[in-house]
Symmetry: none
DNA sequence: TGTTTATATGAATATCAATCATATCGAGCT
DNA sequence: AGCTCGATATGATTGATATTCATATAAACA
């Protein structure tokens, strides 16, 4: 490869590697194998005749050359994205309506800021957030009461297209002085005899119960709370255990009056997807909403990873 | 091809086509066949779902989409070229980056002029001064946030190389009519009962305290000031004593409203060293920076001597 | 010192870009 | 109209190279 054959792909690669903090993590983000990333990075370094990243240090650092190229990436890639958005607007028009239904309570945390940055770019699109609990949110798409649903399910349905957002870890919450806090991770049996504090949704919508406790035959008592802070409050005052997404609890962990533990050795991971009508999937303002949410989430939320399950 | 697979190649193509005024001419410029240009343009248009050039007209014109993409090309390609030029310089070794962290406040006095003369010789090297107090400046080297540190310590660390700059004398400052001014040199006990005016750094970074007062069990009250002139001001108005490098006070001694005395019979001597990553030590522009600073200092600073302690 | 996790690498494969050969198109001409 | 010429388009093939797979190697952890 020649120095003049630098491509946007290489800039995207370098950006992903530095943002993800490693080749393997970057590979996931780019939907490539680790090998591809390694090869491509090496090809780039060979072409330039310069090292771009310090292999020895951890967390992996950039060389002067790497920093220069990253500066270019930061300058050029947003320009490209902006141009592509303009082209998309030329193609499909720049106005529309997005009525959004959200299945998970904690999603509002990141959805609101994502919507804000989306509004900056697509001022002509009317955003509406549907409130209240929905038994069958994807059904709302089919009978035209919503245009976009954020859900953890991906059951195939005629006329519905799914796009993956990200995977996240559910953490068990307890007080720092709780007997279970001594363990590095919790097992299903650990939940027996404790009250489980949850949002007011049916059991089959709670990953902890559906995927961990129910299979182990454990049915803890439940207590419901509407708001995230209320759940945290109840846990802190020792009324029981809870399980929330890692990103939602991160800000509270620092204070130290609450602690989080993995659920199972490798953690309990869940995923979020976007569902839209197939007819809408190709619309520029819809596709870009999904992109915006994804980009925003990866930049903002700690401890998330690309979704694994194919949509 | 997907819309996200836009590459610089496509921007270069569009630019060539518009500048050359046709596909055939553009092909020549790009050292491609006319067929390749046609294929690539079509692939690009298909990916975007938009026409980019008006085929019918002659001389061939751009569509709105084409103009938007050409705008992007005009913005992005020069940035890329500029980055590539910088990288080429980095490669040849006549360019680089020196992010400099300085441990001692007074060092700025001589560092600035030294940097000025260095810049004349190495215009391709980007000089950056890291601001703020650093708890572990040499650590900045290891995690890649600095490239060169000016420090008084030389604790050996893996991957770090030290080079001596010079030794200098710390002088105690007082008013000419101060009772202690009668002495030729001051002893630790002389500081008892006086306020010590210092830069805002921890005690163990102050040679006077660490090497003279603390061993003698003397803990004077401290008062902090940010700037050298502020310290002198406070001394002159009899708020306490201070200790500064000889070179830093020399210009003020002449005025006569402040006096300086040795600390101990033979004076309190300290040394300054440069720390760099071993990997960087051999680079010409790094080695020459150290040489320049040294030469400049010996030429400019009164009362300094070569460093004695082996690095 | 084993065990896990991250990165590197050679060979095989898959993907995509460039070429060759040829078709199509449009403008100017008689 | 029919013809010609220069430019662009297109299908099939070749060539290049990005990606993967299967490992090896290296670093971190306990």
């Amino acid at each position: 490869m020649n120095i003049n054959h630098i491509e946007l792909r290489h800039l995207r690669l370098l950006q992903a590697v530095t943002e993800a903090g490693g080749l393997t993590a970057a590979a996931e983000r780019l939907h490539l194998t680790q090998s591809a990333v390694s090869h491509q990075l090496k090809a780039l370094e060979d072409a330039l005749g310069l090292q771009l990243i310090e292999r020895a240090t951890r967390p992996l650092g950039l060389t002067a050359a790497g920093r220069r190229l990253l500066t270019l990436a930061h300058a050029a890639l947003p320009q490209v994205d902006s141009a592509l958005r303009d082209l998309a607007k030329l193609k499909d028009g720049d106005a529309g309506e997005l009525r959004i239904a959200v299945e998970c309570h904690t999603c509002y945390d990141w959805l609101m800021p994502a919507m804000d940055s989306y509004r900056d770019v697509w001022p002509g699109v009317e955003l509406d957030l549907l409130g209240g609990f929905q038994a069958d949110p994807v059904g709302l798409l089919l009978d035209g009461r919503a245009d976009l649903v954020i859900t953890s399910e991906t059951v195939p349905r005629a006329g519905i297209a799914y796009a993956p957002l990200f995977g996240f870890e559910m953490l068990a919450l307890l007080t720092p002085d709780h007997p279970l806090a001594a363990k590095k991770w919790l097992l299903p049996a650990d939940f027996a005899g404790h009250t489980l504090i949850t949002y007011p949704v049916p059991e089959d919508r709670l990953d902890l119960i559906r995927r961990v406790l129910a299979p182990a035959g454990i049915k803890p008592a439940r207590r419901e709370a509407q708001l995230t802070v209320a759940i945290l409050q109840l846990v802190a005052s020792r009324r029981g255990l809870a399980a929330l997404p890692a990103w939602a609890v991160a800000p509270y962990l620092e204070r130290g009056y609450i602690a989080a533990r993995r659920i199972g050795k490798h953690g309990l991971w869940a995923e979020l997807h976007v569902a839209v009508r197939e007819a809408d999937a190709a619309r520029a303002y819809v596709a870009d909403f999904i992109e915006t949410v994804k980009r925003d989430s990866f930049a903002r939320l700690p401890g998330i990873r690309p979704a694994i399950i194919a949509p």
